[in-house]
Symmetry: C2
Subunit: 308 residues, 2 copies
Amino acid sequence: MDDFNDLIYFAAVVEHHGFSAAARATGIEKTRLSRRVAALEQRLGVRLLQRSTRSLALTDAGERFHLHCLAAVESARVAYAHMADLRREPVGTVRMSCAQVMAQNYLAPILPNFLTQYSKVNLILDATDREVNLIEERIDLVLRSRIEIENSAGLVARPLAEARRLLVASPTYLRKINPPSEPRALSKCDTLGRPVEMFDGQIRWELNGPEAETVSVQVSPRLVTNDLRLLLKAAIHGVGIALLPEQIVANALKTDLLAQVLPNWTTTTHHIYLLYPSPRGMLPSVRSLIDYLLIHLPISLQKHSIKN
Amino acid sequence: MDDFNDLIYFAAVVEHHGFSAAARATGIEKTRLSRRVAALEQRLGVRLLQRSTRSLALTDAGERFHLHCLAAVESARVAYAHMADLRREPVGTVRMSCAQVMAQNYLAPILPNFLTQYSKVNLILDATDREVNLIEERIDLVLRSRIEIENSAGLVARPLAEARRLLVASPTYLRKINPPSEPRALSKCDTLGRPVEMFDGQIRWELNGPEAETVSVQVSPRLVTNDLRLLLKAAIHGVGIALLPEQIVANALKTDLLAQVLPNWTTTTHHIYLLYPSPRGMLPSVRSLIDYLLIHLPISLQKHSIKN
DNA sequence: AAAGACTATTGCATTAGAGCACTAATCAGC
DNA sequence: GCTGATTAGTGCTCTAATGCAATAGTCTTT
C-alpha cells in the first residue's frame, strides 16, 4: 500500500474526465497524472481507465475504486480543513498546569473572564503540586514559581513577575516573644512552612543579610501546608513566623495585621513564569491564553492581594 | 492540500507511539517519517506531536487530526483491498457487446453455463447492431463478424472462426424460376438481404468465381432484415435467394430444405473474432469470459446450427 | 551515580521523480 | 477528405526528496 497521492491524482482525473482537463483544473502537470495513474494501475494489477489516445473512460473496477478514493480524499480534505479551523481562531481545548497555590490565588480571579472572552476555548487546569511532564501529559502551558527559571531544551520560559518573599508574623505574636534581631534567633521561634521547604523534618530558609552575607537557618515548623491562605491566616492568628510571597502578605502588612520580621534580611526572590513548548505551530487557543495571562497575571499579582 | 502520504506517515507514527517504532513496524525509514511529519506540521501551521528528544505525545490538535487520518487511511486501505479481491478470482461485472444475430445464435446456447460456472461474475450483454465504442461505452469484450479483422491500436483481436457465406434458396423456389448459372443472373431473382449489405437502396454482393475472378452484382431485395432467423425462414419459404453464414444454413442444406445457389462461386468469408482492450491489468472476470468463449464458441458455431 | 542504549534529528551523497518539449493518434469542422 | 486542434503518452535534463551515517539529548539500568 504505497503511494497515497496516486488516489488523489486518479480521483482528479476521473472527476475532470481526462488527464488534460484534470491538469488544467488542479495545476498538476498532466504528465505526472498520467505517470502516477499508470503506476497505480500497475501496482494494483488492475486497469482503472480504459484509454484511447484521445478519449478515456472508467473500467468497472475503476469505478469501484473511484468510490473508495472519493471517501479517502474527502476524509483527508476534512482533516486539513479541521486543522485550518483550529488555526483560524482560538478554538479547542487548552491544557494548563500549575501549583494549587497559584490556581487559587492568581488564576482564580482572572480565568473566568478569559473563558467568557474566548467562548470557543475550553480549559483543563491541572492544579497539582507535583512536577508535571509537559510532553507526556500533553500540557500546553505551565505556570510556575521557582527560584531559577528553568531553561529546558525546546521549552520556552516567559517571565511574568518577581515574587519577593518576606518573613512575617502578627504584631501580637512578636510582642509575646523576643522579636529576633538576627537569623539564628529564628530557630527559637514558632514557624510556619511549606512542604517544598522541608528537608529532613525541618525547614531550611536561606537569608541574605544587608552586607550580602548568606545565612541558612533550620527551623522546626509548627505548621506545614502548601495552602498559602492557611499559612497566612495562621500567621495572622499569631501561630508563628512565616515566609510568604510579597503579594500574599501585602494587604495584611498595610492593615497592620502582620509585621515584617528581620526586614533587613531578604530571601531569594521567586520568579513567576509561564512555561510552554516551542511556539512553532502553536494554536491560537494556546496563544490567546498565553497572551491573556501575560497581560492579566502581573496585574492580578498586584491587585488581588489576599484580603485578611 | 498537498502530500497525502504524510497522513499515512503521521498515522503510523501515532499508532506505534514514536518514529523509531513506526519505522521498525512499517519498514519506512524513520528519517523520512520525521521529515514528512515535520513538513506536514509546517504546512498545517499546527503542532501535531509534542516531542522531546526521547519521548513524544499527541497534541490536542494532533489527536483530532489523527482521527480524520485514520478514516482516510482506512478508506484507502479498503480501496486497495477491494482491487486485490477483484484480481484474486473472477468477480464483478463484465460488459460485452455483439450483434443481435450473434447473441441469439451463438451466445445464447453457451452463456448460461458460463454464468453457472462463474457464480460471482455478472454479465451485461449489449446485443446491438450498431458500431459500439469500446472505450466510451465501457465494453470489456466485443464479439464481431467482419470481412477484415480490424486491428485498432490498443485493442486486441482474437480470431475464433471463419464464417463462409453461401447463397441459398429453397428447392421449390429454384424450380419455379430459372436457377441462375452465373452471378449476373441474380439481378433477375428475388433476394433477401441484411441492412449492412445495403447500398443506395440495393444490395451489393461480391462473388468470387472458380477462376478467381470477382463479380460484383447489385440486386433489389424483397426483404431486408438483420434477423438471420427471419432470413432463413423466408428463404426456406421460397421468398428468394439469401446470402447466409454456413453455420446458419448447414442444417437446412442437410435436410434439403435449402439448396445452394451458384455453388462454385464463393463470397468473402467473414472472420468471427473477439475484440477487447489491452490485456494489461485485465481482470480475472474478463479473462475467464474470454477463455470460456475461446473454448466454447467455435464448438457452438459447429454444433448449434439452427434447426429449420 | 555513571554509562549504556535508545530517542529524534541533521549533513551530505545519491537516486527517483518532476517538468519541459515533443510525438503519435484521434476528433471536429470546413 | 483533409487540416488544425486536442488528446494521452514519452525522452531527457534537473531538481528535490531519500537514505545512510553521525549527532545531540534523554531515560534506564547496573
